[in-house]
């Protein structure tokens, strides 16, 4: 049955509300931008197919629902050996080439170099810390919201964030001032 205009509008609202945070989560998990985009599309495709179930939920429950789907899809993608190997190959390739791609031409050269160092250091973080850092910075979520999405206490999220910052500051030889 073709969608109604109302369905499309409701879905667009949900998509726009959660796409940044889900993308940040997926990027933190898989690190490969192309794979993250594919998983984002698959996540929201499932949301679209279950719209009648998802739409009535409050925003925090919608987020939890969507993140459950995203987490399961990520696990599925890990199970596919070929996909995993491709992601790892991309990860290593990007880690080697990132200094020229992360720094935009508008950035000061030294700032760009520091940014590339940061990106490489983030890629070396333990996966859970990388995911949480990505959700907090790129996704703009609070520790409480991240905790709700991942099923972890907010205190655990704050601790992991603090650990990640400490490691990044050490890797970049910076003073951390959280």
């Amino acid at each position: 049955m073709p969608p109604s205009r109302d369905d499309a509008a409701v879905f667009t609202q949900i998509f726009d509300q959660h796409r940044h945070t889900v993308h940040a989560y997926l990027l933190g998990r898989v690190t490969d931008p192309e794979l993250a985009r594919d998983l984002l599309q698959e996540t929201f495709l499932r949301a679209w197919r279950r719209l009648s179930e998802l739409a009535p939920l409050p925003a925090d429950k919608q987020r939890a629902w969507i993140f459950t789907v995203a987490r399961n899809l990520t696990i599925d993608s890990y199970r596919a050996d070929a996909t995993r190997q491709a992601a790892e190959a991309t990860l290593h390739q990007q880690a080697a080439t990132q200094p020229t791609t992360v720094a935009g031409p508008h950035l000061h050269a030294e700032f760009g170099e520091r940014l590339a160092q940061l990106d490489a250091a983030i890629r070396r973080l333990p996966e859970q810390q990388r995911v949480i850092l990505s959700m907090a910075t790129a996704g703009g979520l609070t520790s409480r919201q991240i905790g709700e999405a991942l099923g972890e206490p907010a205190g655990t999220i704050r601790y992991q964030l603090s650990q990640a910052r400490t490691q990044l500051a050490a890797a970049l030889d910076l003073e951390d001032d959280p």
């Binding site: 985009r37 599309q41 950035l107």
Partner: protein
């Protein structure tokens, strides 16, 4: 040290986050790939609508007022 040549961790993280965000154009492509196109109204609906509208306008502007009143 917080100038652009010696950024602190927060400045770097903000800049890094900016590089990670999904561009709006990419997001729109994904959204459009998910939602099938909503069918437009059929041509016959518009034809019928235009016919009714033009008939009403013609009747209201060409029929004498007493005769128009008698019709209703």
């Amino acid at each position: 040290m917080t100038n652009s040549a010696h950024p602190d961790l927060d400045q770097l993280l903000v800049a890094w986050a900016h590089t990670q965000r999904l561009p709006d154009a990419d997001a729109q492509r994904i959204r459009q790939a998910i939602i099938p196109p909503v069918p437009a109204l059929e041509g016959s609906w518009w034809s019928e609508f235009n016919h009714k509208l033009s008939t009403a306008i013609t009747r209201a502007t060409t029929t004498p007022v007493p005769a128009f009143a008698a019709l209703h």
